[in-house]
Amino acid sequence: MTAVTVAEGAGEAREENPWARAWRRLRRRKGAMVGLAVVVFLVAVAALAPWVAPYDPTATSWSAVRKAPSWAHWMGTDEVGRDVLSRIIWGARASLSAGLVSVGIALGIGVPLGLLAGYAGGWIDGVLSRIVDAMLAVPFLILAIALAAFLGPSLSNAMIAIGVTATPIFVRLTRGQTLAAKVEDYVEAARAVGNPHWRIALRHVLPNIVPPLLVQASLAIAGAIIAEAALSFLGLGQQPPAPSWGSMLNSAQRFLAQAPWMAFWPGFAIFVSVLSFNLLGDGLRDALDPRHK
């Protein structure tokens, strides 16, 4: 990361590491820090699910069907007597991994293609940009549903569908940033000393376009969590009896009058995780964007 050159820092007497400066700015934003704390908490809960969940998330109990929240079952039980809290905790795994994996797919495909389009230009850029336009013409969830429908219902196919659907945003963002970075003096300098194109793109352009990608990635994780919940709600994601927040909401819909807690908690879990990634993303944008000093 020492290769990162930020024009903004040039005027400062002592150059501060840009990441240290971003962290310092991020820490000043209460919303972002709350978001970060909740994200860390959720990741920890998901990782430690086997140890922190009070019950087996798939164990049914006919003597505990649709029991209201109590000391034994903090968030109540569902229509077949499964503990809602344990299912929420295990469901965090599906939701967070869907968020991370699908955004990982989108970054893994989108960033190299965006770098290629922006750096190479010409017909490569033309073709890639038209493909991106075409993909962006189909509303996000509708494309994800169509892809998931044709791939077949499963959590991994839902992740692929969401990841592929989120890719064009990253291609467009990377391309735009690359076009801007390409004309900077440090890229010109790298070219003048005879660096090959791939080295300029990877060593000089890429590190400098990481901040906007990081912001977009955190907001995209929020979108991917909602999309996974939506697909699971429709029966195209995580398959029962494995727990997922979206499918929990789907079955809760039938028991709204008798067991409203079944609908409240999974939705609240989606809301809190999406909100915290949005808060973190907004904070990162302010901290990493020089215009938001």
Binding site: D133, A134, V138, P139, I142, F150, F233, Q253, I270, L275
Partner: protein, 313 residues
């Protein structure tokens, strides 16, 4: 202006061609024999052969694509396997329902989002601004299917004020129609209101700092007039054009909202088609959605140029 329109229209053509390829290509993702999957429970070899003939599955993929596009261009979006009806007529039947929902959602979104954005910008860094920002974050982060379920719990199950599901056509009984659509329209409008609020806030902040607003103030105009007549009028252009792009959010939202409130619209059509493995309907609906979105984008661009004399060149 004419040159701009021509150039913009020409740009749409390759996008439409690629969209059609993308949607047709979905079919290639089906594992195994597509005819067998399309037939569903039906295993009769004669039926399978009929499907193969109808979709030219024995021909090479480019030939299949050619005939598919040819059909689409003449208004034939395919045939629903389950409903035994043309996809075009299904779309024509369901679209007005979703359009009613969408229109109501937009009215709600404009009614909440724009005033909230104005107040937030005018009263920047006050409790009003923080409140409006919290509302926007809530709107963006709340899954609409959860909000829908919560509203059903409150207004239908607990208070018994509104029906939990179903749909009555506007022409049939407008009161009943409004009662069946007000909750789903609010759910759809909520997320867009949040986005509109953010756009309005930033456009208003920019407008409030502009020279013409300073001049209006210097002339001694009352603040209310400065905000509503001078700043707002200029701030609305980007808001409306950016708002037009939220059509996609609206349609994505309609898929889930119609499912929750059992409204027989466009969104429910695609979900039912997915469950029934009625792939021609899925492709048809996605194609119509994408084409409408491209057309709206084009209109938004043209409108933007029309209201911005400087861009007409």
């Amino acid at each position: 202006m004419l040159a701009f329109l021509t150039q913009r229209l020409l740009q749409v053509i390759p996008t439409l061609i690629l969209v059609s390829m993308l949607i047709f290509g979905l079919q290639q993702l089906l594992p195994g024999d597509p005819a067998l999957i399309m037939a569903g429970e039906e295993r009769d070899p004669a039926v399978l052969e009929e499907i193969r003939q109808q979709y030219r599955l024995n021909e090479p993929i480019p030939v299949q694509y050619f005939y598919w596009v040819k059909g689409v261009l003449s208004g034939n979006l395919g045939e629903s396997m389950r409903l035994k009806s043309s996809v075009a007529s299904l779309v024509a039947e369901k679209l007005p329902v979703t359009l009613q929902l969408a229109a109501m959602a937009i009215v709600i979104a404009l009614g909440i989002g724009i005033p909230a954005g104005i107040v937030s910008a005018v009263k920047k860094d006050t409790a009003w601004d923080y409140g409006a920002n919290i509302f926007a974050l809530w709107g963006i982060s709340t899954p609409n299917f959860w909000l829908g379920i919560l509203m059903i719990f409150l207004f239908s199950v607990t208070l018994a004020w509104l029906p939990a599901s179903g749909y009555v056509r506007l022409g049939e009984d407008w009161r009943a129609s409004l009662a069946t659509t007000i909750m789903p329209a609010f759910v759809l409008g909520n997320a867009i209101a949040a986005i509109l609020m953010r756009h309005t806030r930033s456009a208003m902040l920019q407008a409030m700092g502009a020279d013409y607003v300073r001049t209006a103030r210097a002339k001694g105009l009352v603040e209310r007039r400065v905000v509503l007549k001078h700043a707002l009028r200029n701030a609305m252009t980007p808001v409306i054009t950016l708002g037009a792009l939220e059509f996609g959010t609206l349609l994505s939202g309609a898929v889930l909202t119609e499912q929750i409130f059992t409204i027989p619209g466009f969104g429910k059509l695609i979900v039912d088609a997915v469950f029934n493995r009625d792939y021609a309907v899925v492709q048809g609906v996605v194609l119509v959605t994408a084409s409408t979105y491209i057309a709206l984008n084009l209109l938004a661009d043209v409108a933007y140029v029309l209201v911005n004399p400087r861009l007409r060149g």
